[in-house]
């Protein structure tokens, strides 16, 4: 019984590997360039990169200004 399970498990593994082997791959340099481009194109909208203006910081307590 165990040997039958092993054979069917192995068959499944072969089918899975065939599926994974059939993937179309692009060059890493091309993939990396696209990821970089995305970062640079969206950098100006990334609040954690460019900073949040003090007046409009949702996590900051609004402070009143004292005129000295």
């Amino acid at each position: 019984m165990t040997s039958n399970c092993n054979v069917s498990n192995m068959r499944r593994l072969v089918e899975q590997l065939k599926l994974e082997a059939s993937v179309e791959r692009i060059k890493v340099s091309e993939a990396a360039a696209e990821l970089q481009q995305f970062c640079l194109q969206n950098a100006s909208k990334d609040a954690l990169l460019v900073g949040v203006p003090t007046g409009s910081n949702p996590f900051r307590e609004p402070r009143s200004c004292a005129v000295v």
């Binding site: 994974e20 791959r25 890493v28 954690l48 990169l49």
Partner: protein, 342 residues
């Protein structure tokens, strides 16, 4: 007997052949990596985020947190047996959901904001409606034979879970039944991340592998190796073509789906603590990784350099999250506090 052995040997040979084929195909497209491609990108400089709020309320270790899609509410789970929904702009607690089992490991907000899900060592995923007068349990999804490590809603009617029983599962919340079971990992599944189009998801497991799955067909489409220990955390890069993992091997890695391999590793000789959680800023440039060393370290995703640190917790950082509007980052810790930074 002999025929079976012959078949097993033939199948093993076929497996080895296919594995060699996959490695060769990956090598053939491996003409560079992220650091070389990112040579022209400007440095981000030192990233110094300030602590804006310390959310006090839990009485024990925090294991998980998740932002609501409104970027304002946030839910946290602690082994004090409670889920707390916070208004992160005021720091106030909005809802407290008592848990039947205190051993919670994961919590999630539905995109609608109406439902929340949690689970852990009880092997179940409990879904509650938090918009009712008092939190009402809607469903107890009970079929996993191992702990619930992660859960994510697709909508108010479907949820995806990852479990210590090595499987992930798509559930129908209207019937409370399993729709699809995703089997292929050979170690506890620790984390999952849903693609924006909800057609695929990625999972990380204790077998040190990350896998990409077709959500509707239930098949594993790609397997990514490289880590040398449990993968605890996984998140998609914002354009959906790559994902970042965090592991007990003390490193984070970025894998690209289309080149089917790792494109960069984030590690530092001085960092000898496991990674518990990862989240990315909206442009994908910054990676916030929570470590066992009580800190959340910030990495430049393109250059692979450490560019900052969020220090302040008195125990392991167990979870991190950036809201949809990208205005800040939340860290949760075993010290029972959640902190908001920007």
């Amino acid at each position: 007997m002999a025929a079976e052995k012959a078949e097993m040997d033939a199948l093993k040979k076929e497996c080895d052949g296919l594995r060699t084929q996959i490695e060769a195909a990956r090598k053939a497209v491996n003409d560079g990596n992220m650091t070389s491609a990112a040579g022209s990108a400007t440095e981000v400089g030192r990233v110094q985020l300030k602590l804006r709020k310390s959310l006090k309320g839990h009485l024990a270790k925090i294991y998980s947190m998740h932002w609501s899609s409104d970027s304002r509410s946030m839910i946290s789970a602690s082994q004090d047996g409670k889920l707390l929904v916070w208004d992160t702009h005021t720091g106030n607690k909005l809802v407290a959901v008592p848990l039947k089992s205190a051993w919670v490991m994961s919590v999630a907000f539905a995109p609608s904001g109406n439902l929340v899900a949690s689970g852990g060592l009880d092997n179940m995923c409990t879904v509650s409606n938090i918009k009712a007068a008092s939190p009402k349990t809607l469903r107890e999804l009970d079929a996993h034979t191992g702990y619930l490590s992660c859960c994510r809603f697709l909508s108010d009617t479907e949820i995806l879970t990852a479990s210590g029983d090595t499987t992930c599962c798509l559930w129908d919340l209207e019937t409370g039944k399993q729709k699809i079971i995703f089997t292929n990992h050979i170690g506890d599944c620790m984390s999952l991340a849903l693609s924006k189009d909800e057609n695929t998801f990625v999972s990380g497991a204790c077998d040190s592998l990350a896998k990409l799955w077709d959500l509707r067909e239930g098949t594993c489409k790609q397997t990514f190796s490289g880590h040398t220990s449990d993968i605890n955390a996984i998140q998609f890069f914002p354009n959906g073509n790559a994902f970042v993992t965090g592991s007990d091997d003390c490193s984070c890695k970025m894998y690209d789906l289309r080149s089917d391999q790792e494109v960069i590793t984030y590690q530092d000789g001085s960092l000898n603590a496991g990674v518990t959680s990862v989240s990315l800023s909206n442009s994908g440039r910054l990676i916030f990784a929570g470590y066992d060393d009580f800190n959340c370290h910030i990495w430049d995703s393109l250059k692979g350099e450490k560019v900052g640190v969020l220090s302040g917790h008195d125990n392991r950082v167990s979870c991190t999250g950036v809201p949809a509007d990208g205005m800040g980052v939340c860290t949760g810790s075993w010290d029972s506090f959640l902190k908001l930074w920007n």
